[in-house]
């Protein structure tokens, strides 16, 4: 069985069937997209790591009603990218994943400085790209020049 199928099974058993949607045609670049609550985040990432995945990238999205963190994970087999999404409200903090994937160390620093999402237990929460004394969060939609600020349903509804 390919890694991705093993992973989808494990995610389904952990998060429930309706939290995982599978797209074999790779239309959006991912073979499956799973939504996890913040409490199960580190556990889910641990399962990814044990199945041989690596953290490809991590980013966040800012909506009017909520913020969302998206993790993209991939393994060394063809067509196996999977995404894991966590909804966090404005000002809510999320447990850190740097204990599972060391790549998350820098990725979380970047998300924190650009979006203001705090990661509990992060060993080194300094600014990564912005100057050390920067106290603004540039990629939030209430900073600087913004073209559109929408709610989550307008895009994913």
């Amino acid at each position: 069985m390919a890694n991705k199928d093993v992973m989808i099974e494990k995610l389904r058993s952990m998060l429930g069937d309706d939290a995982v949607c599978v797209d074999d045609k790779y239309g959006a670049g991912v073979v499956s997209a799973a939504t996890a609550p913040a409490a199960k985040l580190v556990e889910a990432l641990g399962v990814f790591k044990d199945t041989g995945f690596y953290l490809e990238t991590m980013t966040a999205l800012d909506f009017q009603d909520t913020q969302e963190i998206v993790y993209h994970l991939n393994c060394f087999e063809p067509m196996s990218r999977m995404s894991l999404r966590v909804l966090v409200g404005h000002g809510v903090s999320v447990p850190t994943a740097s204990g599972v994937f060391t790549a998350a160390d820098w990725l979380e620093r970047e998300v924190r400085e650009f979006y203001g999402i705090q990661f509990e237990g992060h060993p080194d929460p300094r600014n990564l790209l912005l100057p050390e004394d920067a106290d603004y969060h540039p990629l939030k939609k209430d900073f600087g020049k913004v073209h559109a600020y929408r709610t989550r349903d307008e895009i994913y509804g």
Partner: protein
């Protein structure tokens, strides 16, 4: 017996001191600053400080239409500017469902592989220059100028291209392009002999790169290392074979891999990749069809449907990805770029530990980072 002065002088108890490498230094990787904790010559801790080239590409992505973002794409990793341009165009075409004529696909592939060769050539020249040898730099740049001439003639630009457009390429190529490229390939292949004699068989080079900076597969997986650095560890992971995009599945080429994951393997993998790119270019030139080169009518209004897409492709440094979220307007809602140099640089925090200062320069050069793409 201690003198009176000694009683007031503080004894030096710490052997470890902090040395600042950068952000302006002769190794021309961009503005990288590494805070090194040194114990004599040995590195105890390495902490890269980045952000000196941060230009706000992702915020610009949200304030620019898809068409207006085209110049930004090349300027992130300017050494593989055409590859990034190509990747962005492919991502939006897949997202918005824009058809591309066959001829354009072949032209784009040829130009992308030429760009990959020129990026590896520049890496080769600057890496050996970092180690102290100046002559290969001149040879590499001479070859690179031939590629830049070819690309300059079709696209108008030497370094940062906007040649690939949504739906094709903005200008057709003629017979002179094909002839010049073929003669370049012939000339380039005859230069391998020179590079072998100058560098690959050079005893000093081998001593400075063999066994230096070994990256294990586990470290690669922890940090997200991709590209030639990962292939040197023995994993044949190349986006052109793993998730074939454009027309790469029609060509016959191999993925060179190494065994030990040290700097010498990384060097060999990149040299071999240049040869494989030559093979792809040859096959593409042989099979290039006639026909239209730009589906311009379909790109009058580029409005992808609501939703998102993640498009991964192989740039000269590793696996790159564009993550676009669209709300149905011509402006992206989110434009995130996954850059390979992120993980490649991050792995240095572990790999540099315990190495000597001079080896650190060799390792830094061998992983081939371009800092402005990390800083975006």
């Amino acid at each position: 017996m201690r003198s009176m002065a000694d009683q007031f002088r503080e004894p030096i108890v710490e052997r470890v001191y902090t040395l600042n490498l950068g952000p302006q230094h002769p190794s021309t990787h961009g503005v990288l600053r590494v805070l090194l904790d040194l114990d004599g010559e040995f590195i105890v801790k390495a902490d890269p400080v980045i952000g000196y080239g941060h230009r706000g590409h992702e915020k610009m992505g949200e304030n620019r239409t898809y068409k207006q973002f085209l110049p930004n794409a090349s300027r992130m990793d300017y050494l593989s500017g055409l590859l990034y341009n190509h990747g962005f165009v492919l991502a939006v075409e897949k997202f918005a469902g824009i058809e591309v004529p066959e001829r354009a696909k072949y032209i784009r592939t040829v130009c992308a592989e030429l760009n990959r060769i020129s990026s590896h050539l520049l890496w080769f020249g600057t890496y050996v220059m970092d180690l102290g040898g100046f002559t290969p730099f001149l040879y590499a740049f001479d070859d690179r100028e031939h590629i830049l001439d070819i690309l300059d003639r079709v696209s108008g630009s030497r370094l940062t291209y906007s040649y690939c457009r949504f739906g094709g390429v903005c200008q057709d190529v003629d017979a002179q392009f094909v002839d010049t490229t073929r003669s370049f390939l012939k000339r380039f292949r005859s230069r391998y002999h020179d590079y072998d004699n100058l560098v690959t068989k050079n005893v000093i080079f081998i001593h400075r790169t063999r066994g230096v900076g070994v990256i294990t597969v586990d470290q690669a997986r922890q940090f997200g290392v991709t590209g030639p650095n990962l292939r040197a560890c023995g994993i044949p992971y190349d986006m052109r074979k793993i998730e074939p995009y454009e027309i790469y599945d029609r060509f016959d080429f191999e993925i060179p891999i190494g065994t030990k994951g040290d700097a010498l393997d990384r060097y060999r993998v990149r040299l071999e990749e240049m040869e494989q790119s030559c093979r792809i270019i040859e096959q593409a030139l042989d099979r290039m069809p006639g026909g239209p080169f730009w589906n311009e009518a379909a790109t009058f209004k580029v409005r992808p449907p609501k939703g998102e897409i993640y498009f991964g492709f192989e740039s000269a440094r590793g696996q790159t990805g564009y993550y676009l979220v669209s709300d149905g307007t011509p402006y992206p809602y989110r434009c995130h770029i996954r850059v390979p140099s992120y993980g490649n640089l991050h792995v240095l925090t572990e790999v540099l530990r315990g190495t000597m200062m001079a080896d650190a320069i060799s390792i830094l050069g061998s992983i081939d980072v371009v800092i402005p793409e990390i800083d975006r």
